[in-house]
């Protein structure tokens, strides 16, 4: 083996990327928090922060080994849990992974696990016991995220000799987590929404976002953080990272336009919530593809994701599942669009670039495998937690508001229940 040396440029970029990915946690917390009613804002944000804290602890103990340890029996299904137990041999200042310190790679990848779990929380807004959510977060990341991340992110001879089946045997392209992160979280969100059931008054009473500026701020922070997520997935400071960054902007911008266009045609108004949702739909869809397509391909992915996700948000009312903040419509649908579109517009491998249908088939198999495993495993985990601990707060608590009932806090000391008015402007006196 050639001697591996530390590259300072790569290391600098990965340090920055890790910081950027950390920014996605408050970004997601604000994006989700703004969309719920004011009585659930804190719980919504706490589900993200709680997931980050717990998942990272498990990541250090056993998670990194399960994802990046040598594949057990060379089957590509799960890493060796004891290989890097408590990060043995890696949590020092000299160990390297690739051309960067092992410590940086471990931190970067651990945040992916945390964000994936946090994404799921959007489907169960307003009604989940915080303790049950935390137990779910720990169980789900261990039993679902770690195996799937091993399938997708563990390349042979990178951290360990043998890696996961999707990355190495199937050869599906998933640069930064269209399958492992977004399809995974989306399918889990659907399963969990089914386990918990609908919120009191779902489809009957108005459940309007309490603060769209928070939603837009959150979407903006996610976008910035996503540069670390996507371009950082190059694990290098190079042209691949640059291309991923360009495509991340191109697809997201295109998705905003598509989402707004669908809204204008369907509802008569282009909304700020639509723009913020378009941001996330575009980011999700370009995640697997950001290093595999050119800028035109990225825009195509963005347009299709923006339009399809916008059209999918109505499905929950049609089929009667309360995926409160549209984890399915945005992450599952967006993740599938991005993953499958690589089979069409991927440079060299895509159908439209003369690559035939091989890659397309691999992409579909990879997406379907993650979707099916995540959905079924989440149903089982969620149901068990519901049977043993009870997953939902009481109806009274839910009506009063989960922030008070579960956290004994309210988000704002003073809140205008009329949600602001022109009168408020006049009240302050004339300019």
């Amino acid at each position: 083996m050639e001697e591996v040396v530390l590259n300072t440029g790569d290391t600098a970029w990965m340090l920055i990327s890790t910081g950027l990915v950390t920014l996605m946690i408050p970004g997601l917390a604000l994006f989700y928090g703004g969309m719920v009613r004011v009585k659930s804002l804190l719980n919504m944000m706490m589900m993200s922060f709680g997931a980050l804290a717990l998942v990272f602890a498990i990541w250090i103990v056993v998670g990194f080994s399960l994802v990046f340890g040598d594949s057990v029996g060379d089957r590509g299904l799960i890493g060796n849990a004891t290989q890097f137990l408590f990060l043995e041999g890696l949590d020092n200042s000299t160990a390297l992974i690739g051309t960067i310190p092992a410590a940086v790679f471990i931190a970067f990848q651990g945040l992916f696990a945390a964000i994936t779990v946090a994404l799921i929380s959007g489907s169960i807004a307003d009604r989940a016991k915080f303790g049950a959510w935390m137990i779910f977060a720990g169980a789900w990341v261990t039993l679902v995220y770690f195996p799937v991340a091993h399938w997708v992110f563990a390349f042979d001879n990178f951290v360990a000799k043998s890696g996961g089946w999707i990355a190495n045997d199937l050869g599906a392209i998933d640069f930064a987590g269209g399958t492992a992160v977004h399809i995974n979280a989306g399918a889990a969100g659907l399963a969990l929404a089914l386990i918990l059931g609908k919120r009191v008054g779902f489809g009957r009473v108005a459940m309007r976002p309490h603060s769209l500026p928070l939603v837009m701020l959150g979407a903006g922070l996610l976008w910035v953080g996503w540069f670390g997520f996507n371009a950082g997935s190059a694990v290098a400071s190079n042209g691949t990272a640059g291309l991923a960054l360009l495509n991340t902007i191109a697809a997201t911008s295109a998705a905003i336009l598509a989402w707004l266009l669908v809204e204008k045609i369907r509802d008569g108004h282009a909304t700020s919530l639509g723009a913020a949702s378009g941001v996330v739909a575009g980011l999700v869809a370009i995640t697997p593809a950001c290093a595999a397509v050119n800028a035109s391909g990225a825009m195509a992915i963005g347009v299709i994701a923006g339009a399809l996700c916008a059209l999918s948000v109505g499905l929950k009312f049609k089929f009667g599942y309360d995926d409160s903040l549209d984890v399915v419509a945005v992450h599952l649908v967006g993740g599938i669009v991005g993953t499958v579109m690589i089979g069409f517009v991927g440079e060299e491998v895509g159908l439209f670039h003369g690559g035939g249908t091989d890659q397309l088939v691999s992409q579909i198999i990879g997406a379907a495998a993650v979707l099916a495993y995540s959905f079924v495993a989440t149903l089982i985990i969620g149901k068990l937690i519901d049977l043993i601990f009870g997953f939902r707060i009481t109806i009274d608590e839910e009506v009063e508001g989960i922030d008070i009932a579960v956290h004994a806090e309210r988000a704002y000391e003073i809140f205008d229940n009329n949600q602001g008015s022109a009168f408020a402007l006049s009240k302050g006196g004339q300019l």
Binding site: R208, P209, L273, A310, V313, F423
Partner: protein, 112 residues
Amino acid sequence: MKLITAIIKPAKLDDVKDALQAAGITGMTVSEASGFGRQMGHTEVYRGTEYKVNLVHKVRLEVLVDEPNVESALALIVKAAHTGSIGDGKVWTTSVDQVVRVRTGERGSAAI
């Protein structure tokens, strides 16, 4: 003595206030109100889900006026609050038996 109550568009509050002040009517109580009339609210859309919002924000303005000034005050309010579009609001008067100024104990017209 009459109490004039006006339900008007929030955006017209300053116009009405200025018009009344210019006419020498210097006291009023203003509060935030919501309700509906023939206008019947509006529709909001969030991720494609339509919500009918039946209650519309208004401003409720209350002015105590001595008998001779009632008609002119009414006219001023209506003129200042008028936009011609639906939802301009309503103004009505009610008779007031007694008014007392808390600071001085003055009663009736002197207290207005």
